[in-house]
């Protein structure tokens, strides 16, 4: 059980999580700024042509450019890139077959996500849950593998030292 958590991997994932949340907050802040500028512009237009504008908030939310961003949706859309980087960074310290397979599987999934599923399903609760499971699952897998690889390495080093001593 204690093999499931590795402090270095934990720090790596924490860094990834913070970078993700920070970038999403920045995206939302930029969008809100854009919306407030457009809201002011629409208020002026509304006085000249009330029929074309109608309810300002509804018009903003219906448009593509100025729609309100959902925090969880954006978290899902951008959620795979930090995970991708983490898995590649992890390859420096742990070069097992499973790590390489994970990195390549993630590459294929990220292509699918960026081109199709990310836009299509990121509002879907199940898809959001799936991305969350991916994060948690990969955290435990990578921690476990790191611990095991470290122990094996220590073991082989110990045996080589023992062998050298015997000679």
């Amino acid at each position: 059980m204690e093999n499931l958590i590795n402090y270095v991997v934990f720090l790596l994932f924490l860094g990834g999580l913070f970078s993700l949340v920070l970038s999403v907050i920045i995206i939302i802040a930029k969008q809100e700024h854009k919306r407030s500028i457009e809201r002011e512009r629409l208020k002026v237009v509304q006085q000249q042509n009330p029929e074309a504008v109608g309810d300002i908030e509804a018009k903003l939310n219906d448009s593509f450019e100025f729609r309100k961003f959902d925090f969880w949706e954006l978290l899902t859309i951008w959620g795979l890139q930090p995970l991708f980087i983490i898995c590649f960074v992890n390859l420096f310290s742990a070069q097992g077959t499973i790590e390489v397979i994970i990195a390549f599987a993630l590459t294929i999934f990220i292509i699918l996500h960026e081109f199709w599923t990310g836009n299509q399903y990121s509002k879907n609760g199940w898809y959001q849950f799936f991305i969350l499971v991916l994060w948690v699952g990969l955290f435990f897998t990578i921690s476990y593998r790191d611990n095991i690889l470290k122990q094996e390495k220590a073991k082989t080093e110990q045996t080589t030292i023992d062998n050298d001593k015997q000679k």
Partner: protein
């Protein structure tokens, strides 16, 4: 005979809560070399275009024009003066519907002249028609909704959205009497507050509202795909 027909609410529901449907239609022969007259029916006015070529040229001129220029373009052709003079009093919702028929005609002109090679239906669902102004400014567009939304079960919701000025219906009747009916988000799409979605069959307005949001989601996915995957 081919008939293109637009139906929409010309009163702003958000401001006046009134319903006043407007029918605009183009009827005639749309073959490439057809030389017969094309009837242009606008509400109670019966106007005519000399032939298909004149109409095509006119549609090209109308694209991207502001209201003032639109009146100028109309006055150049010999329409009834009462109709042209009336244009100046019309509000933006109505002008948007008037422009829509010419924009859509221009958009589907090729499949109408060459129905064997080009699929008309493909052009009328989940597509954009841009009112291209040739100026560096945000361009307005017409968006045809996806085919899976146009079903008999959705008909009451679509009707409600037409009343709210958020959609307008478009029908094409082809030579072999097949009709294609679709809906589009018009050029002038006002913001409609949430309480206006309430109807008798949908007392909280939730179903109509989520139907509307689904239509918008399709549009947004279409735009995002284009932004992300263009080359």
């Amino acid at each position: 005979m081919i008939e293109l027909k637009i139906k929409g609410n010309k009163e702003s529901y958000q401001l006046t809560k009134k319903l006043d449907y407007l029918d605009i239609s183009l009827t005639g022969q749309f073959d490439f070399n057809a030389d017969s007259r094309i009837n242009f029916r606008y509400d109670n006015y019966n106007l005519t275009f000399e032939n298909r070529n004149k109409l095509f040229k006119f549609a090209e001129e109308v694209r991207g024009t502001s209201l003032d220029k639109l009146i100028l373009t109309f006055s150049k052709y010999d329409f009834e003066t009462a109709f042209v003079n009336n244009l100046a009093n019309k509000k933006s919702t109505e002008i948007g519907l008037l422009k829509a028929i010419f924009l859509i005609y221009y958009w589907i002109d090729l499949p109408l002249t060459n129905p064997t090679d080009l699929d008309l239906e493909k052009q009328l669902f989940n597509e954009f028609v841009v009112d291209w102004t040739n100026q560096p400014e945000p361009q307005k567009d017409i968006y045809f909704i996806d085919k899976r939304h146009v079903t008999p079960t959705n008909a009451p919701y679509i009707q409600k959205l037409i009343d709210l000025n958020l959609l307008a219906s478009f029908k094409v009747q082809l030579i072999d009497n097949t009709t294609i009916s679709t809906c589009f988000i018009p050029l002038v799409k006002p913001g409609v507050s949430r309480e206006n979605f309430v109807t008798e069959f949908d007392t909280k307005g939730d179903k109509t509202y989520s139907f509307w949001k689904n239509i918008l989601k399709d549009r947004d996915i279409r735009i995002t795909n284009w932004i992300n995957n263009r080359f």
